[in-house]
């Protein structure tokens, strides 16, 4: 991926840049708002990582200007301001995701992947498929290899969240936000418990597992090779 990083703190910028480069991405870096906006307007980026507090033009202003100019590139806000209202404000300005500092690098990576691969808002699918697993979103039914699987509403939401991002790593925090609407870490094993229950319901004795745990990062659902 080609990623534009707009961050004024040199140390943080270096840390992110190193991590992303090691993961095989191309990173451009701007250290203030106007420079960042100038680079972003040039286009060609898969995703933008923007700090909220920037010199001369803050992150909110940058994203607003970008959106006003018709640039649809996905933007992730990175910020030390994690007040409840700040996140809503950021999303309203046109950002696509919001990550508070400090963050684990795996979390940033997972969210960037999710953003960059987000399909254009075309036709909403009514059926999600991963291998022989099928989810009918209209009838709210799940089958695997033709066998009906009964799921609790929360398990259904969890599976839907994973299947919509099939092949991508989904972090625990993303699941807490997307499935439970929890915007802070309750420090309980609720995600792990639900994932293992879901796994048990999906997997027969002879069927290969679909949901995989990525140690230190999160989960991914993918069809068996």
């Amino acid at each position: 991926m080609k990623i534009l990083l707009v961050e004024d703190d040199a140390e943080t910028a270096g840390f992110i840049r190193r991590g992303l480069t090691e993961a095989g991405h191309v990173v451009d870096h701007a250290s203030d708002g106007p420079d960042g906006l100038h680079l972003a307007m040039g286009g060609g980026y898969d995703v933008l990582v923007v700090d909220r507090m920037l010199p001369r033009l803050d992150g909110l202003g940058l994203v607003r200007a970008l959106r006003a100019a018709g640039q649809r590139v996905p933007v992730l806000f990175l910020t030390a301001r994690t007040g409840v209202g700040d996140r809503v404000e950021g999303l309203e300005a046109g950002a696509d995701d919001y990550l508070g500092k400090p963050f684990a690098f795996a979390e940033l990576m997972a969210r960037l992947n999710a953003l960059a691969r987000r399909p254009p808002m075309a036709q909403e699918p009514t059926v999600l498929r991963v291998g022989d697993l099928e989810m009918d979103l209209l009838r709210r039914q799940v089958t695997r290899g033709g066998r009906r699987i009964e799921l609790q509403p929360r398990e259904f939401r969890l599976l839907e969240y994973l299947m919509r991002r099939a092949g991508e790593v989904v972090t625990r925090t993303m699941l807490l936000e997307g499935v439970w609407d929890f915007h802070f870490d309750p420090k309980t094993s609720v995600v792990e418990t639900h994932v293992s229950r879901l796994r048990a319901k999906l997997g027969g004795e002879d069927q290969p597992p679909l949901i995989h745990t990525m140690r230190g990062a999160g989960y991914v659902i993918r069809a068996p090779e």
Partner: protein
């Protein structure tokens, strides 16, 4: 202010005098006119019945009876010569006229002329002096009253003004003492309770609030300084140890990261409490399904309870809506349940209930909180001695208290015998009517 008051008093006096003048003199003049008309009518009638001779007789009789000397008459023959009466001459025109008597006694007369049947002319007149006297009396009275009002107003104004100045000076002096750092000093309030006392009461209330906020701020600063020093010291020790022991650097680094995360969490919690206490979040209030929120929180903390072998019972009334900040209430409920799991007995029983009246109850069966400590645990960083060994920074209940206050909800800690029962009474949902 005093000048305006004076001007208004003066204006009122003048207007009142004018009205009195107009009514009284008008009445007196009307009386006089009536008398003249009546006399003239009677005399014309007499002329019709008895001729000019009887009119002359009647005039003599009237003049003889008039002690006040205010009546004047003139009877003239058809040729215009004076036949009787005390007026020497008078213009012989029918209708009303004003005459002026010159000579030793000047007088202003109101006269009515009338032609007599069968020839001759009659003039009946009255002295206007009584009316003029009344007028001058009224004018004098108005002058006196006006003067007195002016003086009284002036004196009253000066007195009130001096009173106002003195009391303003006293308030100013009291506020100056507060400004100089005597934050506990208050404005004097008299028993009377006028506008000044109400104002002083309001200012005192504002000062009370400021003092409370200052104390809270000082408390927070002290708490932060005290409670962050411990984990920071630990972090520093760990890093120093890692420098000496190169083999253990990995474990030490991981521990240091955990310490940092813990510190950052404390900061985040403190900031959140401060943000909630500022009341700024009230603008984002909306109606939401409290029942589903309670169920979600119970679900999220279920595994934690299970790990400690606890039974988490729920009794959640369906379809209860609340008006407020959904995220903050999620956090508040989460903190309550988190506390219950941590402080409840291992292998014990927990309970989360939501009544149709939007009252949330969280119960555990742990050691509970002694009655004397219940108010203190709502403060930042306050931890019971018994809880010092367990994880947590003592910020959970402080946030719950702040969220409760933001929503105008009642937060009660009680004995669950054994254990702690926390009740958060949100009250009925109030969409559209704003925050309580």
């Amino acid at each position: 202010m005093t000048l305006l008051h004076l001007l208004l008093t003066l204006l009122g006096t003048v207007a009142l005098s004018g009205i009195a003048w107009w009514a009284t003199t008008g009445f007196a003049l009307g009386q006089l006119t009536g008398e003249v008309e009546r006399d003239a009518g009677v005399l014309v009638q007499a002329a019709r019945l008895g001729g000019a001779g009887s009119v002359a007789l009647s005039l003599e009789a009237r003049l003889a009876a008039d002690r006040s000397g205010t009546q004047y008459f003139l009877l003239a023959g058809p040729d215009g010569t004076r036949l009787a009466g005390n007026l020497a001459t008078a213009p012989q025109q029918p209708g009303w006229a004003r005459l002026r008597l010159e000579g030793p006694e000047t007088a202003e007369l109101l006269a009515l002329g009338a032609a007599l049947p069968g020839g001759g002319f009659l003039v009946v007149a009255r002295d206007l002096a009584p009316v003029r006297q009344l007028e001058s009396f009224l004018l004098g009275a108005a002058g006196w009253v006006g003067g007195a009002a002016l003086l009284l107003g002036l004196a009253g104004g000066v007195l009130i003004g001096r009173g106002v100045t003195r009391r303003a000076a006293r308030m100013d002096a009291a506020l100056a003492r507060v400004e100089a750092g005597e934050i506990g000093h208050r404005l004097p309030i008299r028993d009377g309770g006028d506008e000044f006392d109400r104002l002083a009461g309001r200012i005192n209330a504002v000062l009370d609030r400021l003092q409370g906020l200052m104390q809270a701020l000082r408390q927070v600063t002290d708490d932060i300084a005290h409670d962050l020093r411990t984990p920071l010291t630990r972090l520093r020790q760990r890093l120093e140890a890692a420098l000496r022991d190169e083999a253990g650097w990995r474990g030490a680094t991981e521990a240091a990261i955990r310490d940092c995360e813990h510190l950052l969490e404390i900061f985040a919690a403190l900031l959140r409490i401060a943000q909630v206490e500022s009341g700024a979040r009230r603008a984002g209030f909306s109606s939401f399904d409290l029942s589903s929120l309670a169920a979600t929180v119970a679900e999220v903390y279920g595994p934690a309870a299970e790990e400690r072998g606890q039974m988490l019972e729920t009794a959640i009334a369906p379809g209860v809506t609340a008006f407020g900040d959904r995220e903050l209430l999620t956090q508040a409920l989460a903190n309550l349940l988190d506390n219950a799991v941590k402080h409840g007995r291992e292998g014990g029983r927990l309970r989360l209930a939501l009544s149709p009246e939007a009252v949330v109850t969280v119960e555990d069966d742990g050691e509970g909180i002694p009655e004397g400590e219940r108010a203190a645990v709502l403060r930042r960083f306050h931890r019971l001695d018994a809880a010092r060994s367990r994880p947590g920074a003592g910020l959970g209940l402080a946030l719950v208290a702040a969220v409760a206050e933001l929503h105008g909800a009642t937060l009660t800690l009680a004995d669950a015998g054994p254990g702690l029962r926390v009740t958060l009474a949100l009250g009925p949902s109030r969409p559209g009517r704003g925050a309580p």
